[in-house]
């Protein structure tokens, strides 16, 4: 276990970003220390072998060892000031074993031959102690050993090699352009993560992976103090599995949308987005309040990703379905009998949803998961029918699979790995269709862009989502902006109301950088791709109140 700190975003003026707290693991270090190498692979292999042998000699029938170095650099600014910079490093080893048919786990920051051997022995002792309460022995889907292999996020620029000053200067410049264009306040942040993970197992794998993630974001605010009203508009960036090249703002990666909106694919222009945010947040101040009722919704990928995450990603986690998360996140409506029937209509026949850990530039992309399984893509929903779940090695047999899906993850060396959501994405439509063409056919609708408020029940039936920008559509045209919009629906009803999906030219990924699950809670990062999609007759409520 570890000491976890939480950066309170409310204190940094970023409470409106709807993130309860930003978890930090490990200890503060200097910027330069983030670039130092801690251990060479040859040394890691030697240490891993010590653990494998120590566990085996104590009676383990399976062992995996994760020597991990987890680096985080977070930068926070508001208006003209740099508020906070954190450089964090967490380094240690986690050892998981099966002994007497039962899992045992132990972790230590003492990465020495003695420390690792002791840790392996503790893991075996815990497994044997817990075996008394075990009902059925753990059975792992087979995995072949891969020998010594490595993989790295294919970055062009290592974010940690870019001087901090260059990064804070960019955030301050974006703040400045927002202020010049009418934002009253702006808070901006850059989250950078590098996971250096060495995995070894008694199956004969020695896997070295170097994973990078980036998330630039901001909240621009406008205030009409005379009337006593304020509005915010968050960045339309997406967290990515990329290096600092994501900040290049390449024109070739921009998708022009209606009303001057810009969608960003694999490259983000923070200066442009900050300017647009300032203009749009002021437009929000004067926008009319929505009339509650049924609307056809046109959902931008930067919005729809979160709906996919909550209403498809989480309910299809097999551990939830089985009841392992009952005391915290809950269970799932997508029970095994629905899957076994082979005809559970999760969505309309346009809906094809895939899980993967391989799509380039995504948060989930790795070559091997945290139990040494080679990653892949698989179908979750095919032509609207529920066809599969997300399963790891000790769950595969429950759904008659020969192999794990490769979606096991731990957020730190000191956390035990468990089933986590892979990327879960909606496939684009096959026929050529632009957003403007989609809007042309909508008589009474709302076009929603950006991530807003989100809430869903513990079995993932009933949900409510807000957004950043809401445009009223009347008779095929956008007629203006709306305020106080949230839509409520039921997962199956919603996905069955899907009537049109734009083609691959509109496809982009949304991301969740700090997705929480488990007790004690662990985070993970995951992407969700989609093209703009239309849902008919969705219930929209008005969230305006007077206090």
């Amino acid at each position: 276990m570890k000491r976890r700190d939480f950066i309170n975003l409310t204190g940094l003026g970023m409470g409106a970003m709807m993130i309860p707290g930003i978890p930090l693991m490990g200890h503060p270090v200097s910027e330069a220390a983030l670039l130092e190498e801690r251990l060479e692979n040859a040394a890691k292999k030697q240490l891993a072998d010590i653990a494998l042998n120590a566990a085996k000699s104590k009676g383990a029938t399976y062992t995996d060892v994760r020597i991990g170095r987890y680096l985080q650099q977070y930068l926070f600014t508001r208006e003209k000031n740099v508020q906070n910079i954190t450089n964090n490093e967490s380094f240690g080893v986690g050892i998981r074993v099966i002994a007497d048919g039962t899992w045992g786990f132990s972790a230590t920051h003492d990465v020495t031959p003695e420390g690792i051997a002791k840790c392996a022995e503790t893991a075996v002792a815990i497994a044997k102690a817990n075996a008394k309460l075990q009902k059925e022995p753990v059975v792992l889907a087979p995995v072949k050993g891969f020998g010594e292999v490595s993989w790295q996020t294919p970055i062009k620029k290592n974010s940690f090699e870019i001087p901090v000053k260059e990064k804070t200067d960019l955030l301050l410049a974006a703040n400045n352009v927002a202020m010049e264009n009418g934002a009253k306040f702006i808070n901006s942040a850059l989250f950078l993560v590098n996971e250096q993970k060495y995995f070894a197992s008694s199956d004969g794998s020695y896997i070295d992976q170097d994973i990078h993630r980036i998330w630039p974001t901001f909240t621009a605010s406008a205030v009409d103090q005379a009337v006593g009203v304020f509005k915010t508009r968050d960045a339309l960036s997406s967290p990515m599995g990329m290096g600092y090249e994501y900040m290049d703002g390449l024109a070739s990666e921009k998708i022009e949308g209606p009303n001057g909106l810009i969608g960003y694919r694999n490259s983000y222009d923070i200066m442009e987005d900050a300017k647009l945010a300032a203009l749009q947040v002021n437009e929000k101040l004067a926008a009319k309040s929505v009339e509650a009722g049924k609307y056809d919704l046109v959902l931008d990928p930067n919005h729809l990703g979160l709906t996919i995450h909550e209403s498809v990603g989480h309910p299809l986690e097999l551990d939830r379905v089985l009841g392992y998360e009952a005391n915290y996140a809950g269970t799932s409506f997508a029970t095994l009998d629905k899957w076994e029937s082979g005809n559970f209509q999760y969505g309309s026949d346009l809906v094809n949803i895939v899980a993967d850990k391989t799509q380039p530039n995504t948060l989930g992309a790795v070559a091997y998961d945290d139990e040494g399984v080679k990653c892949k893509e698989w179908d979750l929903i095919k032509d609207g029918i529920l066809v599969n779940y997300q399963a790891i090695r000790d769950q595969a047999k429950i759904i008659n699979e020969e192999e794990s899906h490769g979606c096991c993850y731990a957020d730190n060396w000191s956390s035990v790995q468990f089933q986590r959501m892979p990327n879960v994405s909606l496939k684009p439509g096959k026929d050529k269709l632009s957003v403007l063409d989609m809007i042309k056919d909508v008589e009474k609708g709302i076009y929603i862009v950006g991530r807003g408020s989100f809430s869903i029940d513990q079995q993932r039936y009933n949900f409510q989502f807000g957004g950043q920008l809401f445009y009223e559509i009347k008779n095929g045209e956008i007629v203006g902006m709306l305020n106080d919009v949230a839509y409520q629906s039921n997962t199956q009803e919603f996905w069955n109301s899907c009537v049109q999906i734009c083609d691959k030219d509109d496809y982009r990924t949304f991301g969740s950088f700090f997705d929480g699950k488990g007790q004690p809670s662990q985070i993970s990062a995951v992407s969700h791709g989609s093209s703009t999609t239309r849902f008919n007759g969705v219930n929209v409520i008005n969230t305006g109140r007077r206090i």
């Binding site: 000031n81 205030v223 392992y324 809430s455 206090i547």
Partner: protein, 438 residues
């Protein structure tokens, strides 16, 4: 040893301060042990225990600060850490909002430590799991539960002569019980500093009763209902209100406490006059750490008095800007209530909905403090003073500000989630849709 005595901590802090070349330096030492056990499907999934001892240093030159931390407390490691924090500080950008460190402060003695909690061991945790799993499985019910305990200390000191030390313990226990067919679910949660107050078997019993009683829930139309919120449900929403009392956000015009035309709403009556919310680090049921942000002493503070906003949280920077006294935020709040028990409140209700807890609560509109979320694990229809039948869960869209203007009655406050909150009867609580979730 992960827990240092006051004298040991002071000695190390003084040593670290003696190595400093910075304009200002502060040192924090923290340590302790934490353990947990998690179970689901009537079997233990994970359990563990760990010790930690750490020291963090903040060095400051002018308005530039640098922070580092270490786990080794030998002289050589401490000297290196001081040097590193000074290097980081020299390279850091200037923070125009930096406030000089505080000098010596008077802190009340913390009442946060319990020997019984400190003595929790793996056998105790396994017994807690067994006390849930065995009675539930006897009745063909399925449990999922989690216990986490902590015992440790915190010490801090700085180059201006400030020093503080306290020990604390905590234990958190939550239990979900479901019927075998998945049509009923019940929940109970308890948290204490002193584990001898925890009766996990009794807590499990409550969740078991709720699971059995919530089978075959009926759907009733969403709309405005009189609700009786158990303390956990009430705390879910009142806690959010208590965390939204920052003066700077209000003065900047981006809070529900912003005043039209500028400034904030301190002194205005925004709630029913029976609403009294305060914090008190010495409160016997929810003792808190003696200091808040920057080492400011926590004192008994009234936040809402007779429905009037009495105080708001001022950081030291914002207090100086506004010519006010700095005031740290509360760690836990106490809401005064009445003397009625939950059972009496139900007996005195003609028609209403009893809510065990809320789930997945998210802000919808910070302007009005509007939140959405759902009822979960025990929602019942009340008629003529009796619980008539379980009802399907509801989604709500409601603001605690509106809720605290619609109070019908309040019962005896209980500790939940680190707060003391009464069960509350609220009229016109807004349920906007139904959920099939159990």
């Amino acid at each position: 040893m992960a827990v240092l005595t006051k004298e040991e901590a002071k000695q190390i802090i003084d040593k670290v301060l003696s190595y400093s070349e910075a304009d200002e330096m502060s040192v924090n030492i923290y340590g302790g042990k934490t353990g947990n056990i998690r179970y689901a499907r009537n079997t233990v999934n994970t359990s563990g225990e760990s010790d930690e001892l750490g020291l963090s240093i903040t060095s400051v030159f002018g308005k530039k600060s640098g922070n580092t931390s270490i786990n080794e407390l030998d002289d050589d490691s401490l000297r290196k850490a001081v040097k590193r924090s000074e290097e980081i500080a020299r390279l850091a950008p200037e923070n125009p909002e930096y406030m000089p460190m505080l000098g010596p402060q008077e802190y009340e003695e913390a009442k946060t430590f319990s020997e019984a909690t400190d003595a929790i061991d793996p056998d105790f945790r396994a017994q807690v799991a067994a006390d849930s799993i065995l009675p539930a499985s006897d009745k063909n019910l399925t449990t999922a539960g989690y216990l986490e305990d902590f015992s440790g200390f915190s010490a801090m000191g700085n180059s201006k002569g400030m020093f503080g030390y306290y020990k604390s313990t905590s234990v958190d226990f939550s239990i979900t019980v479901r019927t075998a067919d998945g049509t009923g679910s019940g929940y109970a949660i308890k948290d204490f500093n002193d584990v001898s107050l925890l009766n996990s078997r009794q807590t499990t019993e409550v969740a078991m009763q709720k699971a059995a009683a919530s089978v075959n829930a009926q759907a009733i139309e969403p709309g405005k209902y009189t609700v009786i919120l158990e303390p956990t449900a009430a705390s879910n929403l009142i806690g959010l209100l208590a965390r939204s009392m920052d003066a700077r956000s209000a003065d900047e015009g981006r809070s529900f406490l912003s005043k039209k035309g500028g400034g904030n709403r301190v002194g205005e009556k925004l709630f029913d006059e029976r609403v009294n919310i305060y914090s008190d680090p010495a409160h016997v049921d929810i003792p808190a750490s003696p200091w808040g942000a920057d080492g400011l002493p926590r004192q008994k503070t009234s936040w809402i008095e007779n429905g009037v906003v009495k105080n708001m949280v001022y950081s030291r920077f914002w207090a100086e800007q506004q010519g006010k006294e700095p005031l740290p935020g509360p760690s836990g709040i106490i809401m005064e209530g009445g003397t009625q028990s939950l059972a009496e409140m139900i007996r005195n209700t003609d028609r209403g909905v009893l809510v065990t807890r809320f789930w997945y609560i998210r802000a919808v509109d910070p302007q009005t403090l509007l939140y959405t979320g759902l009822t979960r694990d025990g929602t019942f229809y009340i008629e003529n003073g009796q619980i008539k039948f379980p009802v399907k869960n509801f989604r709500f869209n409601e603001s605690p500000v509106i809720m605290l203007n619609n109070i019908e009655a309040m019962g005896k406050p209980e500790r939940t989630g680190g707060n003391m909150i009464p069960p509350m009867k609220i009229r016109d609580f807004t349920f906007t849709s139904l959920s099939d979730a159990v």
